[in-house]
């Protein structure tokens, strides 16, 4: 293993999520990625070998590598989002492994919320099915920048190019009606390992790279919004010590744009102007801060600023409003109640809101608007109007995933019951 402080330590981080229907081979694919990239340790592999033999499997069941909880092993399905980690010399990867069941839309939404890329699995024998539409729609709804469509089980269709071509065309046609920017297609066999990490010897007609090589090279440096400057104030640092008597730092994570020392800024919602005196991270004074850096900003002027305020530059201001249209995904057994108060968290701000009106529901399989049915229950996706007790400072989710997202919390149980993307 070659090692240098500057080379080896300097990898990119890619977060991706996986979506597939039951039996599409998602767990096997993840097992294969981990196994072929040599991210599986001997003791893990031993445990899986033992379990495979016990279950009477003819081969090492790589799916067992990712089955986490006891209740899952009993039912043989994945019931919640699980996170996996592996690295190659080029990138470190975080997989949000989410189940493909109908009733678990909420888990896929969860996994998709932080992903740079989504792998959508399609069984080559079945082609694009209703659930594929749902997975693609959720990926577009959550604005995952890159989609990789894996056409799996190619070994069961004799590695035929015609099968791949038909599925690719069908998916591409569907993708045109939803908003997906970057789509790639790979024919694979997760079970046999074709085109996952190693190039397939059975599909010479395909030469656009293995899944792993795509994961390693997708350009992700522009996945953040570097244009509109957004700095939600998270915490005010006031040491109140002899050495730092007057220090007042506004701590937070840059949500958009580029901040530099000396920049003229505006504090929202007050609208007061000021200038950046310094950008700090511990002893280091920084010249520039950009997403997703956590820093502390101090200003030239002594202004009253607290958690939930936002520091921006004068160009391209966010919207400030109490009436907000959102696409909501409902995450709780108890359905949404119109007119009821919910707690709302958005960036670092907490307010209350009521849901004023359900404009329409969306059929996640056909993408049709449903106007006449107003019950928004678990896993429903709907377009709604909300009104907040205090104004939010926001952007559309399309232009900024941080300042465009919010969650709703039940006032009694404190559960996260709904998640919203601002239109």
């Amino acid at each position: 293993m070659s090692f240098s402080k500057n080379g080896y330590l300097d990898m990119e981080l890619l977060r991706f999520t996986t979506a597939g229907s039951v039996d599409d081979g998602k767990s096997t694919l993840i097992g294969r990625l981990l196994y072929d990239s040599k991210s599986i340790f001997e003791d893990q592999l031993e445990a899986v070998k033992r379990a495979s033999i016990q279950k009477g499997n003819d081969y090492i069941n790589l799916a067992l590598l990712t089955d986490g909880l006891r209740s899952e092993r009993e039912q043989g399905i994945t019931i919640d989002v699980a996170y996996r980690y592996f690295a190659t010399p080029k990138r470190k990867f975080i997989i949000a492994d989410t189940p493909g069941h109908v009733q678990y839309t909420r888990n896929m939404v969860t996994g998709a919320s932080t992903a740079n890329a989504a792998i959508i699995l399609i069984d080559a024998r079945n082609g694009v099915i209703e659930q594929t539409h749902r997975h693609a729609f959720i990926a577009s709804l959550l604005q995952i920048p890159h989609i990789i469509v894996c056409i799996n089980k190619m070994d069961l269709v004799d590695f035929k190019q015609s099968v791949y071509d038909v599925i690719k065309k069908t998916f591409a046609d569907f993708a045109e009606i939803i908003d997906i920017k970057d789509i790639r297609y790979v024919p694979i066999s997760a079970l046999k390992g074709d085109n996952v990490v190693d190039e397939s010897k059975n599909m010479h007609w395909y030469n656009e790279g293995t899944l792993m090589s795509i994961l390693e090279t997708i350009p992700i440096e522009n996945d953040y919004n570097f244009v509109q400057t957004r700095f939600p104030v998270q915490y005010v640092i006031r040491p109140l010590t002899e050495d730092h008597h007057d220090y007042r730092g506004y701590a937070g994570r840059v949500a958009g744009g580029i901040f530099r020392k000396g920049d003229n800024v505006k504090i929202l919602p007050s609208g007061l102007p000021s200038k950046i005196k310094s950008i700090d991270l511990m002893e280091n004074e920084l010249e520039v801060a950009f997403p997703p850096m956590s820093v502390s900003i101090s200003l030239e002027d002594d202004i009253d600023i607290s958690r939930g305020d936002m520091i921006v530059k004068n160009d391209s201001l966010p919207t400030i409003s109490q009436d907000i249209e959102i696409t909501i995904c409902w995450m709780n057994q108890k359905p949404l109640v119109i007119g009821r108060k919910y707690n709302l968290m958005h960036t670092t701000k907490e307010v209350k809101c009521i849901i004023k009106e359900i404009l329409y529901k969306i059929n996640v399989n056909t993408l049709e608007k449903i106007i006449d049915e107003k019950e928004v229950g678990l896993n429903s996706i709907a377009r709604v109007m909300i009104k907040t007790t205090k104004p939010l400072i926001f952007d559309s989710y399309k232009s900024n995933r941080v300042t465009g997202s919010l969650i709703l919390i039940d006032e009694v149980t404190n559960e996260t019951v709904g998640v919203g993307m601002i239109v």
Binding site: L69, H244, M282
Partner: protein, 301 residues
């Protein structure tokens, strides 16, 4: 590629600092669990970065099994002194004396499980509403499903089927009276990330992590350090070996590995080449396939 781009360690650092600041902002009485192991050392370092130049806005809590390496205690006291933090110690021995916990018997007796009792007691005593810990999702299967903000009921229990969805970087820390949260700021780090970050930031580490001579014995294929309260079986023999600790916790269940790694660089090379997981050396996980899941449900870290 533009220059405005963080490498994986800086991105993880930024995420963790965000989580730690959320804890300070959302809770009234947070606490940072400090075991003296590398993960809690890294979190303490991140917490300092999060609030610098102010001091940590929460105390450190060490759940002391009484079965510690002396080096760990020295390191702890030194660190607390250097950064001007407040330290609270919860004693497992005291829980045993009070009859709340019962000492295990036999060769594999460990106070690891008893820590849960002391931890929950200490949380109640000081009315802590959020306890930050160094658990990572890559450590173990059951941990892979943990949230950053993990809700615990009034008995401190974890219900894996009823976890709150956690999206984007919005963390819901709302709770009812008597409930609390466990928060895991370095959830997304791997063992390798932790060591690379320690190197990048040049964080001082306890000498136990580096190669040294120690009296050890082999049990079920793992090397364990000898200690006055460890009983050897007939076929086990104590011998001096060149070792380093891969994880540091209670002596009874911390595996040491034969190693000559004497620097952070050498440790990282060793981990890159290692074919056994970090927890492979932890006796407590081997008790049953679902051992970790069961302990977590009851309120373990």
């Amino acid at each position: 590629m533009n220059n405005l781009h963080l490498n994986h360690l800086r991105e993880l650092e930024s995420e963790s600092i965000y989580v730690i600041r959320e804890v300070a902002a959302q809770f009234e009485h947070p606490v940072l669990l400090f075991s003296g192991g590398k993960d809690s050392i890294v979190i303490t370092h991140l917490a300092r970065k999060a609030f610098f130049p102010a001091k940590l806005p929460f105390p450190l809590l060490h759940i002391d099994t009484g079965h510690n390496f002396q080096e760990t205690l020295d390191y702890r006291d030194n660190l607390v002194n250097n950064i001007g933090a407040q330290l609270i110690v919860g004693s497992v021995q005291e829980s045993i004396n009070q009859g709340k916990a019962v000492e295990e018997n036999g060769y594999n007796a460990s106070r690891n499980v008893l820590q849960t009792i002391t931890l929950l007691d200490t949380i109640e005593k000081y009315k802590f509403d959020a306890a930050m810990g160094g658990a990572r999702r890559d450590e173990e299967k059951a941990r892979a499903k943990e949230r950053f903000f993990s809700h615990r009921d009034e008995f401190g229990q974890w219900d894996p089927k009823n976890q709150r969805p956690e999206l984007w970087n919005i963390f819901n820390g709302k709770k009812n009276m008597g409930e609390h949260f466990r928060v895991f700021p370095i959830s997304n780090w791997t063992e390798m990330d932790v060591w690379q970050y320690i190197l990048l930031e040049n964080i001082e580490m306890p000498s136990l992590y580096f190669t040294h001579q120690r009296e050890v014995f082999c049990r079920d294929g793992n090397w364990l350090a000898t200690a006055p309260f460890m009983k050897l079986k007939e076929n086990e023999k104590a011998e001096v070996k060149t070792v380093r600790c891969r994880t540091i916790g209670d002596i009874t269940c911390t595996g040491v590995t034969l190693s000559e790694a004497n620097s952070l660089e050498e440790i990282i090379e060793e981990i890159a080449a290692t074919r056994v997981t970090e927890r492979g050396g932890r006796a407590d996980d081997k008790r049953s396939e679902a051992a970790m899941e069961d302990r977590k449900r009851e309120g373990y870290f």
